[in-house]
Amino acid sequence: MKKIVKYLICVLFSGILISSCEKSLDLVPLDKYSEATFFQTPEQFKLFANQFYNGLPDFSSTTAGDTYSDILASWSLSNISNGSYSPSPANGLWSSCYSKIRYTTYLIQKGEEVASNIKTQISIYVGEAKFFRAMAYFDLLKDFGGVPIIDKVLNLEDTQLLYGPRDTREAVVDYILKDMDDAIGLLPLEKDIAGNDKGRVSKEAGWSLKARIALFEGTWRKFRNQDGNALLDKAIEASGQVISGGQYQLFDRRDVLGDKSYKYFFILDKVKSNVANLTKADQKEYIFVNKFDNDIRPAGIPSAHGFPSVTKKFADLFLCSDGLPIEKSPLFHGRLTVSSEYDNRDLRMTNILQKPFTQFWASYPPEYNRNWANPDAGGNIFDLNFGNATQTGYYSFKFRTEIAGPYAPDYPVIRLAETLLIYAEAKYERNSLISDADLDLSINKLRIRAGLPPLTNAFVSSNGLNMRTEIRRERTIELFLEGFRFDDLKRWKTAESEMPQALKGVLWTGTQYATDSRWSNISFPLDTDGCVIVEPANKRTFTEKHYLFPIPTRQILLNPQLTQNPGWE
């Protein structure tokens, strides 16, 4: 009996200790949702769609894009701009785009699986996903041409797609445009987007992006002896929808901001950022932005120090105020002094470039900040500090805020000015002709804002100008630093002649630069005209192969079906 009690005690007490444990081996996350039970409510679809907004282009990414082109010279000369780069194992755009494609497709696929009663409630988010997916494929198309189309959420067994070949350029374009048409069908008009949802993709943003894509590919084909007309028609139709909708207007507040209206347009903030107290709420030009906020999400804007220099080629694009190029206009004051070339020009010239020996304000250092109590005081003088502020003599302050951080101008992903430029270019390229009425509907609005006379067919012919050149000039100036120039040269197929030209700075010989003692101790290589050469033509190359970037080589090693772009093998 005593023995039995003893054993019972053993078992009992052992059991008590062991039973203090509570967890089995079947544990699930305590602070996260499981994917299997997510995607049930419209709110969850919205939360999932929100991630795509965080991946929009911003100030730094598009500045980097323009350094590839002929209008900027970066301090450490860009090997993309000078064509000396070679295929590399990895490419950030390739991987980030396919990641975006996976997650946009995820939402689209989940949208097909949900109960029918919420299908209509989530259709907006499916539309957003298609918009962002088209954006990702368009980025791939611009850089690489035809790429593999992945039209489902891949798992590891999908070897046919994982290790499949590239699709043709045409197939990719069709796929993008199909997504855009679907998106436009599902997205709401801007006026129908509720207050707390402002900033989400609108139908107008859909039309604008579609127009951008159609113009890109339409002209790409046209200048490669293929038929681009159907695409140009799409570009005209889609940009026309935005223009006729009347939802957006160009920002022009010269009434309160004077000649600096255009400059302050790009740095409107929530906090005070200009003498007229205009805020981000006072512009109606931006169609789709990457949104920033001083408290929630401050913007990062490339600092002034180390910013790439603007080339002479870009500075010379600005027309004189009579609408004529500098080589034709009697109003051009020449380059005798360091600032004479800034006289009588397109208003945008002094709104984008800092005129030498004029005052400017910056976000850093503090003494350069604007003091709104005394707005004309302080700041600094742009003193043409070669080797520090500029290497060309030209200096840009587009997008630079004048106030201390945290600042938060929005970054324009799509704005009306571009849509107007698309309309004009597509109209012209469609029939090699554009009517004065269409010019008035589109780029003349930009020219008026820039203090220029309207462009007409008569003005072009009477002054020996070229309509295409003028349309392209307008585009290059207006969209400076917004990441278009390099792609434009490629689709126009002019990169092979434009890109190999030397990157130049100001005219030195015979001007104040050569005679003024301030610069007597510096010397530059000069061309035969006496202009500063930052990178000579013999160090720059752009051949047929450079129209497409090489496919990242590691991806080819992983999947030999993925063929390299021509010339990069």
Partner: protein, 692 residues
């Protein structure tokens, strides 16, 4: 002692332990063990900011300007400000551990043990991140470290860990020769953690009192995370011992983990071992002087591993986070995003590490000499590995049991102790080495420039780089070199830049492995990278020397590595001020310099300093370090007895007092090329041991 000259630097620890075993009845014994620890640390909130800026700053910059203000140059921030002016974080760490074991002995030689132990770890801190102002050399205000967005917050984290263990042990002795030992048991482990944080901006009200309760209620942030895991194991062991000469043992365990998906949670593991104690054999007794103890042993066993993977990887998780300002630009609402975690890992199970070992233990020459020798082969047959898929997948693949890594190694340790007159001394040496190789992989793996993870047929951590071919000395060498290349080298090389060998001779410098096909010619995908070594530490050694003479004792412990391939990771584009560049950079006047020319051109600089076997890039970081040195003096007992003390010893002890190595500069050899780190500390301490 404080390690930093600036800022708060406080660390205090109190701990206690209580252990008691008592017999309750003739068949029940209770063991208890209780301990606590309480630690308080105060240090700068921006410790990492301090570390990184002290690593980034040029040595010529002054800490303060002549007006006594914190100085900054350009956008460089002041590490002293981060140490002393940017607020402190006060961390309290508590640990309470307890163990309760009931040991029943219902009948002779049988023991049933039931034990439970728990650790509670709590770590909480409160911090303030205060902006400090910096000034230029003319005392002009130039920068505030936080742009006046001062903030304060607190973190709380606790972890609860419990182990319950129930096992029975039975020993059976037959005829005093055969000893059997049986053990069987079951254990359960569980752990859960919870953490939350809160933060508010202070700037708008005051930064005088650094508590977030005083912050701006419009600017408050908080977060939470929690997680748990559990492990179950059943295990058994049978041992047999014949006259302490022949020993044999078998064991088995069956482990289950919550980290794997259903159906993959459990795995069995086996092991056997045997030993022969030769010195207990009769025929060895004549050699008793030379051999006190000699044992040959061998084992084969499996072990499970489930560390280094996520807790719930078998579930595809949705994360919520991020801040995007949606809505009206003047009064936006914070919009969070839902994102997917990695792909789920449904079929992954335990890693099985199989180790075979043979070893000898020896002691002899009147116990003056001791020797241990071991050889082992370790096979991790289903190691966690994440296969690389084409990036069109859009995410990375989850890790699977996809690699087989074999490690072979040996270890030897020799000890000698003796005395000469009043001088006692000892010397111990141990030396070990192992090499590994990926013998099987679910993919072949593509070598890339730098350190690689797993590549079939190569050691883990293999380093690939270009083959260095000297500096280009003049224009004719330059054109001779560049004319050989059609791509892969910068278009503006100059004398003073580096030549790398075009291994496959295709006129392109390509960052892919140099590979020969079966025909002895480079393959189509061959590049120019060659294997330069692996990042493992080889020939690790330790030397322990000591002696005493009369009342004085001395001991020293040296530690080191015989072979460790490392490459310089500090880019001169970021760290142009590193002192070992001075006077050692290529110029026409110094063609035999250590380093290539320095240039502002980032493309060329990147090319000159990429991974290769150049003598300025690749190093064997072999080193020896005096880890510890102690000198003691014991007061004569005639004196100490008078004050009723048994023994009083005063000592000096130093840690990391000396080292010899091959790296340039003054890096800590244990952290090669770590620039943004706390500088290598040397420790000195004096102490007294008192025995009552």
């Amino acid at each position: 002692m404080a390690i930093m000259s600036y800022g708060s630097n406080y660390n205090k620890k109190i701990s206690g332990r209580f252990k008691n075993d008592f017999k309750v009845t003739d068949f029940l014994e209770v063991n208890t063990n209780f301990s606590f620890q309480n630690q308080k640390i105060i240090e700068p909130t921006n410790y990492s900011g301090m570390q990184s800026w002290q690593g980034l700053l040029w040595p010529c910059l002054m800490p303060y300007n002549k007006y006594g203000h914190l100085y900054n140059f350009g956008s460089n921030q002041n590490p002293i400000g981060f140490a002393s002016e940017s607020g402190d974080v006060t961390t309290l760490n508590y640990r309470i551990s307890g163990l309760l074991a009931l040991v029943f002995t219902p009948f002779k030689d049988f023991k049933l043990t039931s034990e439970i132990s728990s650790n509670f770890d709590i770590s909480e801190n409160d911090w303030a991140n205060l902006g400090f102002d910096m000034y230029d050399e003319n005392d002009k205000y130039s920068y505030n470290s936080t742009n006046n967005r001062n903030s304060a917050g607190a973190n709380y984290r606790r972890s609860r860990y419990t182990v319950a263990n129930l096992y029975a042990n039975y020993e059976y002795i037959l005829l005093d020769k055969h000893r059997f030992n049986f053990l069987a048991g079951y254990s359960h482990e569980e752990n859960d953690t919870r953490a939350f944080s809160a933060e508010r901006r202070l700037g708008l009200i005051s930064s005088e009192i650094p508590t977030f309760a005083m912050g701006d209620s419009e600017q408050q942030y908080n977060g939470e995370s929690k997680a748990d895991m559990s492990l179950n194991s059943a295990y058994a062991r049978v041992g047999y011992d014949f006259e302490h000469k022949y020993l044999i043992e078998g064991n088995f365990r069956y482990d289950g983990s919550s980290k794997f998906a259903k159906g993959y949670k459990w795995a069995p593991f086996f092991g056997v071992s045997g030993a022969w104690v030769l010195s207990n054999e009769k025929f060895m007794q004549k050699m008793k002087n030379a051999i006190d103890y000699l044992k040959i042993r061998s084992s084969w066993g499996q072990m499970g591993n489930q560390a280094s993977i996520g807790l719930y990887d078998f579930i595809s998780q949705v994360n919520i986070g991020g801040r995007y300002p949606m809505g009206n630009p003047l009064s936006p609402v914070i919009s969070q995003s839902a994102t997917l975690g990695g792909m789920s890992s449904l079929t992954r199970s335990w890693e099985t590490i199989e180790t075979s070992n043979i070893g000898i233990d020896y002691a002899g020459i009147d116990s003056r000499l001791s020797l241990t020798l071991d050889f082992f082969v370790k096979n991790n047959k289903n190691m966690f590995f994440s296969k690389e898929f084409p990036q069109v997948l859009g995410t990375s693949a989850p890790s699977i049991n996809g690699a087989h890594v074999r490690t072979k190694g040996w270890e030897i340790s020799i000890g000698w102790k003796d005395k000469v007159g009043e001088f006692n001394y000892f010397a111990n040496l141990n030396l070990s080495n192992n090499t590994n190789k990926v013998v099987e992989l679910v993919e072949t793996g593509i070598p890339s420039l730098g350190t690689n993870g797993y590549l079939q047929g190569y050691p883990v951590g293999s380093i690939f780089g270009y083959k260095f071919d000297g500096f280009i000395q003049n224009e004719s060498e330059l054109s001779a070199h560049t004319s050989k290349f059609t791509s892969g080298i910068p278009n503006n090389l100059k004398p003073g830049d580096v030549r790398y060998v075009d291994m496959d001779g295709d006129g392109k410098l390509i960052p892919q492995a140099y590979q020969l096909g079966p025909d002895g010619k480079p393959t189509v995908t061959s590049g120019d990278l060659v294997k330069l070594g692996d990042n493992g530490q080889h020939y690790l050694f330790g030397i322990n020397l000591g002696g005493s003479w009369k009342n004085i004792d001395l001991s020293a412990f040296f530690q080191g590595v015989g072979k460790w391939t490392v490459y310089e990771t500090n880019d001169p584009a970021v760290y142009p001020f590193i002192s070992y560049y001075y006077g050692e950079v290529w110029t026409t006047a110094k063609p035999n310099s250590v380093y290539p020319r320095l240039t502002q051109d980032g493309t060329v600089l990147g090319y000159d300093f990429q991974v290769s076997n150049a003598p300025y890039k690749l190093f064997n970081n072999r080193y020896i370090r005096l880890k510890n040195l102690q000198i003691g003096y014991t007061l004569p007992s005639i004196i100490t007895r008078k004050v009723m003390l048994d023994k009083v010893r005063v000592y000096f002890s130093g840690t990391d007092l000396w080292e010899a190595n091959k790296l340039p500069g003054t890096y800590d050899p244990e952290k090669p090329f770590a620039l943004q780190a706390t500088p290598m500390p040397r420790g000195y301490s004096f102490g007294i041991n008192v025995t009552l």
